[in-house]
Amino acid sequence: MSRDITLGQYYPVESFAHKLDPRVKLLLVIVYIVGVFLVDSLYAYIVVGAFLITSIIVSRIPFKSVLKSVKGIIFIVIFTAILNLLFHKEGEVLWSFWIIVITKEGVLFSIKMALRLLLLVLGTTLLTYTTTPMSLTDGMESLLSPLKLVKFPVHDVSIIMSIALRFIPILMEEVDKIMMAQKARGASFDNGNLFKRAKALLPVLIPLFVSAFRRADELALALDARCYNATPNRTRYKKLTLSWRDLVATIAFAVYIVLIVAVNNNFWGLY
């Protein structure tokens, strides 16, 4: 059921990648994303793919689980690929019928775009697989802390985010429970047309909202009761520290960046 949603789910094993500092991971993933967008030659994509596979191996997450995250977007990938294929009209014509013209460049272009999307999703999934939501927000807070200079409430935003993240699994569990209870009263959620199905969700959504508001209320009270306020000098329970792993990862990443830039530019015609 709702537990099958894998996007953004932490995968609890011990590995080099899991132990990296979340700030480093965030930065590296951002660089990775920029890289995927800038890379243009098919050879460079092969390098990116190889790097991604190496990273998956280093994080000790089964390939099957990583690939699951692609399942959700495979439709978008295929759809954009087809659109790209149809609308790319310049270049050597491979096949044409009526108004459909397929060119060699179009084929290459759609393959590249599809690869780009897949590599993006796989890379970011790897981040959420190896980093708990809590340490992700911690990392984000730390990275955004320069914004405090312009009076941006970094800490408040990050506490809101971590509470929201923390509540996702709780609410999912709640959805499961309520659905079961309504099913026991004969409700069915997978029959009929779209309109009927949406209506069938009311018995789930109403109790869900009621309980979400109740929880929010209780949480606010609990925070108040413990005199919580987001003062600037809060200390933290878990301090983020850099280790040799982060250094190794950054160096490996730098090598990778140099490599893809080189491959992308055909080694500047050096040979």
Partner: protein, 284 residues
């Protein structure tokens, strides 16, 4: 309707990092007309077990046969099954959703395809059975009732569709002592008049001792006892290591007999304890 459970096992999140074995090779039979108590510590698999009974969790390993419905079959008539087996979840008041109490209680019967006139009658009967004033509550919003009243409305919503087996997951959790007693008396009344078989999960040994005639104990997903309350609570050794305790009445009787008061009965409720003490220590 009798229920036969054979070699039932269940694993949550099979083949993932979150794999969790919740039931392991559980077999037992529930006869028609029984009041079955299911006890076990937190996480022992009680809820998982009962959710199998109306196919909210499908049988993956082992078999469950309810009368002539074989739940391990791929295709079963879910509506029929779920109308026969009413299930009250933990904290059922959080599942109320309609504008009025009447509409909420009617949700089940409507889904099970009863006729409009029948539904009106069933709803009214169910609301009265749980001890609420039909005309007073029918047009109220379920959200403006008290906790105990909400729970009654939730129970009415289950029994309105006339199940022959009623399954209750910790029906008294979170209620005050009076509310607890009221719900239990309601369950007893239902048993005498309306539903045939009752299956009840409880953490309260006193409730189990007083109301059940058959009890099973789950421990870490395994069935460790399948017996009567008298048997189970007759021997303190049986509960060692399960994290469970004796009912208060049984405990008092034990302590008294250790001090030399001659009590031989099992004393599963207050009345029988009082009787036993009066017999052992005659009034001058």
């Amino acid at each position: 309707m009798s229920i036969e459970i054979k070699n039932l096992s269940f694993v949550y999140g099979a083949k993932s990092a979150y794999e969790k074995r919740a039931l392991e090779d559980v077999s037992f039979t529930i006869k028609d007309g029984e009041t079955l108590g299911i006890i076990g510590t937190t996480g022992s698999g009680k809820s998982t077990l009962i959710q199998h009974l109306n196919a909210l969790i499908r049988v993956t390993n082992g078999s469950i046969v309810i009368d002539d419905i074989d739940l391990s079959q791929k295709r079963i008539n879910l509506q029929l099954l779920r109308s026969k087996i009413g299930m009250l979840f933990q904290y059922p008041e959080y599942q109320l959703f309609e504008d009025t109490v009447e509409a909420d209680v009617a949700f089940g019967p409507k889904n099970f395809g009863y006729k409009k006139e029948d539904i009106d009658y069933m709803v009214r009967q169910a609301i009265e059975l749980v001890g609420l004033d039909y005309y007073e509550v029918k047009d109220k919003s379920p959200f403006e009732l008290s906790g105990g009243q909400k729970r009654r409305v939730a129970i009415a919503g289950i029994i309105a569709s006339r199940p022959s087996i009623l399954v209750l997951d910790e029906p008294t959790a979170g209620l005050d002592p009076i509310g607890k007693r009221e719900i239990l008396d309601l369950v007893k009344r239902l048993k005498d008049s309306f539903v045939k078989t009752i299956i009840m999960i409880s953490h309260n040994m006193d409730e189990i001792a007083e109301y059940c005639d058959h009890v099973i104990v789950l421990h870490e997903g395994k069935l460790i006892y399948d017996t009567t309350p008298e048997e189970l609570f007759s021997d303190k050794e049986k509960l060692v290591g399960t994290g469970l305790s004796l009912p208060h009445t049984v405990n008092i009787a034990r302590l008294l007999s250790e001090k030399g008061v001659e009590i031989n009965e099992s004393c599963l409720d207050v009345d029988s304890l009082v009787n036993a003490i009066e017999k052992a220590v005659p009034n001058e």
